[in-house]
């Protein structure tokens, strides 16, 4: 069985009197250790998918099975625990805590996870050995995103979710971040889902899920995913 089964998911938001359909019948599956890119233009529903996978929101109908558990039935507390132990997030705007050093930002996540990895080692791995004591404001955008990735990985989650991780970065820095994500996925074997509107990035994925207008338009598997160094935009 796949690590993730996303079955017939519908998601509707009610804003005032208007009901907006963000996802209408969305299904896909993801295997353990896969690097998946969810591709689509803005407003397609990518972020909704990520929110549902990340336990930040629940679907209107359909089921989401992660590692054999039906998380769409989770209550608030269970969702919190799910985010805590199973999910690592990386965001477009890094969302680091400004008053904590790089190391402390990682430790912040680790302290609430039972199987967390060593914060310092992880920072070494993402190439920030000598920036551990720096505060976010003293780091470049790329460095900040590395800290965010370290923070997500250090929790030792089942799933790493990245929402436009290169969106706020220039292309060279962005490429390095992709490289880092690809490397951790392959080396640690961590299932990684990367959301982007940038089709160039899709070339590095094991599997690409294209989303448009709240529906899965296409799913295909890259037989020979490119290495991150080979792409450019």
């Amino acid at each position: 069985m796949s690590l993730i089964e996303f079955k017939n998911i519908k998601k509707e938001y009610e804003i005032g009197d208007v009901t907006i359909s963000a996802l209408s019948d969305c299904s896909f599956s993801i295997e353990k250790g896969e690097l998946v890119v969810i591709l689509g233009p803005s407003g397609a529903g990518k972020t909704t998918v990520l929110n549902l996978l990340g336990g930040m929101d629940s679907p209107s109908s359909g089921s989401i099975i992660v590692d054999g558990k039906e998380i769409n039935k989770y209550k608030k507390n269970e969702l919190t625990n799910y985010r805590r132990t199973d999910i690592g997030f990386v965001f477009q705007f890094y969302n680091l805590i400004g008053n904590l050093t790089a190391l402390e930002n990682v430790e912040l996540a680790c302290q609430i996870c039972p199987d967390s990895l060593d914060s310092k080692e992880i920072l070494d791995q993402v190439g920030l050995s000598d920036r551990k004591k720096s505060f976010p404001s003293q780091l470049s955008g790329g460095e900040q995103q590395r800290v965010a990735i370290a923070r997500a990985i250090a929790k030792n989650p089942k799933l790493l979710l990245c929402d436009e991780p290169t969106g706020a970065l220039d292309s060279v820095t962005g490429q390095r971040i992709i490289q880092l994500l690809q490397k951790t996925c392959k080396e640690i074997g961590m299932t990684t889902i990367l959301i982007t509107h940038n089709s160039v990035i899709a070339d590095i994925a094991d599997k690409v899920i294209k989303i448009k207008n709240g529906m899965v338009k296409d799913i295909f598997i890259n037989k020979n995913p490119k290495r991150a160094e080979e792409i450019a935009w």
């Binding site: 507390n77 969302n95 805590i97 400004g98 912040l108």
Partner: protein, 788 residues
């Protein structure tokens, strides 16, 4: 458009808007209320003096004054009127009262009820003691001094000569003047005037109210009468004494008390100005930060900084001006009467005055302050380029704090504690504001509750623990021994162990300081020790009255600034002065006392010692009946039961409750406003941070801990600071309230510390609960996606 935008802004952030409104209301209310108090009281007094034609000078002479004196005085420059008159101190049934002649052009009485006398058998009497229809029976021989000894009260009055309820001293009875009446002048059959009243030009004359009059307490008045006083002194007889208005009971007290209020009124506003500035500046920075995008859009559309700032100015100023207006009128309405009622002066009702000049000054100051705070906060944000504003805000710079350098402590701290401590130092302005606001709240509460501690039980302490007699019997005549008949009478009423004392009202003087004091000379030292427990206030050791010096009460020693071993002068009611050495200072709370041993009295004072009072233990069950038969015996003028005195003191303390309620209300408002403002800003600013924590899988409890640990630490630190400040504030207020003849307990009970601290903590917890609900509502997705 911008204006409409602002109105929407107000609606959206109504809590923050109201917090600015209320803090200004509170601050301006305090300031204007307290500053209005002194002028309000002085102006009602001044009007009263003018309406009643309060004299400027009174000339007295124990040898009598005659028409030639009147003529001499009339010839002086700047004299408007010279009015010879009479007064007489007599014993009326069981108390000493003063009889004045009714005058129409000076010291006019103010009729409260009834009418003025129409014949020689009628009188008008002190409203505080008498009712219409009461019979005044003068129970001593007045010989050729008065036509009548019996009067019917046909009207009750207040007199401008008696402004406070302590009427001063007299040479008759127990030496304490209890009340007064006014009778037609024709009743007096003395062959000389007892006093001459003198009105100076332009100070408060008949039919000349309004323009041209000098205010009673002004410098102008002082200088106007100074010259006249010198002139009078130059022509007067040696035996005459010239007295100015300061001799009027309560006249100078009123001025000094209202001066104290004025000085207090400058302390509080400073505190509020600090809070208001911090709060507004915080709110503005926050609003601008929240609206970065909008500001960016506006600036890129080509709006000038000025017009953008003007929307914030409108926001702040509308709240401030509304707050200032409401605060001014509420403050002027609440504070003066409340403080006036604490003073207990006998004056007409206070009229509320809204001094527009003060109002304009306060309003202008408020506007100036708020405009500068707003403009400075706005410019700091707006100096950035529009494009920059459209991008997300750069994270506030995190920095290592000093404590991190002390590695052996830092290393031991748990991770969450490190964060908390660093956060505390990160938001310095906010931490400071919390401390000022919360500490202020705690200090106010402690001062309020402490004031209650200080006043409660003072009467019991004085009349149960210091004075241990059950009753005080004022004798009709002065005696040297208790004769057998009197002893038998006392026995019959179950009055045991009577101690004869001489008690009289005197003035004590040391250097330039003087104070009204009761002089007490006991006949029997052993019984004296039983009835008067004189303790050293510091050590608690018993003091024994001996023949080498006097024992004076604590407050007297404070008033005169004298201590053990110093000399003190006693001036009796005949203006004779005697000097004593101080042997001890005794714990004492109500009134001032000077205790002199029989032998010492006889050594220093060359007049024979007569006693006028008995204090004793009382075993009778029917106090009223017992008092009646004592008075009927002919020996006794009056009997005062200690229990009644305590009860009266307890009743008097009621007015205190109003003040305490006011303090609690003001301080809780203060705490709520400050905390609300802080926590909403705190949460708004850290929305992203909180959302991040939620996404990371922090559960609600952990998220709250992360935010609230800081708030709790700040609150607790502030409470501790507030408790310390409260001790000072309390002693400051007690000093003011005490006056010259009362001393309160200086100690604040532990329970008051506890209540003040816990109440503040409770305010803080309630506020946290409100914000907790807000915290729950933070949507992870929104916060993470938004560019902030």
């Amino acid at each position: 458009m911008l204006f409409k935008n602002t109105l929407i802004k107000i609606k959206k952030s109504i809590g923050r808007y109201l917090s600015i409104f209320f803090i200004i209301l509170l601050g301006v209310g305090f300031l204007s209320g307290l500053t209005a108090t002194s002028p309000d009281i002085l102006s009602v007094a001044d009007k009263y003096y003018k309406d009643q034609n309060l004299m400027d000078f009174k000339i007295v002479n124990p040898m009598g004054l005659f028409d030639r004196d009147v003529e001499k005085l009339s010839s002086l420059d700047n004299v408007k009127a010279v009015i010879p008159s009479y007064s007489l101190d007599v014993i009326e049934q069981d108390k000493s009262i003063r009889i004045h002649a009714i005058e129409n052009s000076v010291n006019k009485v103010k009729l409260i009820d009834g009418r003025m006398p129409e014949n020689l058998e009628e009188c008008v009497a002190d409203d505080k003691f008498y009712d219409i229809g009461d019979h005044i029976i003068i129970t001593e021989e007045t010989g050729s001094l008065l036509k009548n000894k019996n009067y019917t009260v046909v009207g009750t009055i207040e007199s401008v000569l008696y402004l406070s309820d302590d009427y001063g001293s007299t040479t008759v009875g127990d030496g304490k003047l209890t009340s007064f009446i006014f009778i037609p002048k024709e009743n007096f059959t003395l062959n000389a005037y007892t006093e001459i009243y003198l009105l100076a030009q332009g100070t408060g004359l008949v039919n000349s109210q309004g323009t041209g009059l000098v205010n009673s307490y002004s410098k102008k008045y002082a200088s106007a009468v100074k010259q006249l006083k010198d002139d009078i002194i130059a022509i007067k007889d040696d035996t005459s004494t010239v007295m100015d208005r300061n001799n009027v009971v309560g006249y100078s007290d009123l001025k000094s008390n209202s001066d104290i209020v004025s000085s207090v009124s400058f302390v509080f506003p400073l505190f509020f100005i600090l809070i208001v500035m911090l709060m507004t500046s915080n709110s503005m920075s926050r609003m601008i930060a929240e609206e970065r995008n909008e500001l960016g859009a506006l600036t890129s559309l080509g709006y000038k900084d000025e017009s953008i700032i003007s929307t914030y100015l409108f926001y702040v100023l509308s709240a401030s001006i509304l707050g200032a207006v409401a605060g001014f009128f509420i403050g002027c309405r609440i504070f003066p009467p409340l403080i006036f009622s604490m003073f207990k002066y006998i004056l007409p009702t206070l009229t509320y005055k809204y001094d527009m000049i003060t109002f304009i000054i306060i309003l202008a100051a408020t506007i100036l302050l708020m405009v500068s705070v707003t403009v400075i906060s706005c410019y700091r944000e707006l100096k950035q380029k529009p494009a920059f504003l459209l991008r997300p805000a750069i994270l506030k710079k995190g920095e290592a704090i000093l404590l991190e350098k002390i590695t052996f402590i830092w290393k031991r701290l748990s991770f969450t504690w490190k964060i908390t401590i660093r956060n505390l130092f990160r938001y310095k302005k906010r931490a400071f504001m919390t401390i000022v606001g919360i500490a202020g709240c705690t200090a106010l509460l402690l001062a309020g509750f402490g004031l209650r501690d200080s006043m409660n039980g003072v009467a019991q302490k004085q009349y149960k623990e210091i004075f241990k007699y059950d009753d005080m019997i004022i004798l009709r005549g002065e005696i040297q021994e208790i004769n057998d008949v009197l002893l038998e009478t006392l026995d019959k009423e179950k009055i045991v162990s009577p101690l004869l004392i001489k008690q009289s009202a005197v003035k004590c003087i040391a250097d330039d300081n003087y104070s009204d004091v009761y002089m007490v000379v006991p006949k029997d030292r052993e019984l004296f020790d039983d009835y008067f427990t004189l303790n050293n206030p510091k050590s608690g050791d018993l003091l024994a009255l001996n023949d080498s010096g006097v024992i004076i009460s604590q407050k007297l020693s404070d008033n005169l600034k004298v201590g053990k071993g110093d000399l003190v002068i006693v001036r009796d009611s005949n203006n004779k002065e005697f000097q004593f050495k101080i042997e001890g200072i005794a714990e004492n709370y109500i009134s001032n006392y000077i205790y002199i041993s029989e032998n010492l009295y006889n050594d220093v004072i060359d007049e024979p010692l007569f006693y006028n009072t008995i204090v004793s233990t009382h075993n009778s069950e029917d106090e009223k009946k017992s008092a009646e038969s004592l008075i009927n015996s002919g020996y006794v003028l009056n009997i005062i039961y200690t229990d009644d005195v305590i009860q009266k003191a307890l009743d008097d303390n009621q007015s205190l409750n109003g003040i305490i309620i006011l303090i609690v209300v003001v301080s809780s408002l203060l705490a709520f406003i400050v905390l609300y403002n802080l926590t909403t800003i705190n949460i708004s600013e850290r929305k992203r941070e909180i959302a991040t924590l939620k996404v990371l899988g922090f559960n609600d409890r952990e998220t709250n801990n992360y935010i609230y640990r800081e708030v709790m630490i700040l609150t607790i630190v502030s409470i501790l600071i507030g408790l310390v400040l409260g001790i000072f504030l309390h002693s400051f207020i007690v000093d003011i309230v005490e006056g010259a003849s009362i001393m309160f307990f200086r100690k604040i009970k532990w329970i008051s510390f506890a209540i003040s601290g816990l109440l503040t903590l409770a305010f803080s917890l309630i506020m946290q609960f409100i914000t907790y609900i807000k915290l729950q509502k933070i949507d992870m997705n929104d916060a993470l996606k938004s560019v902030e």
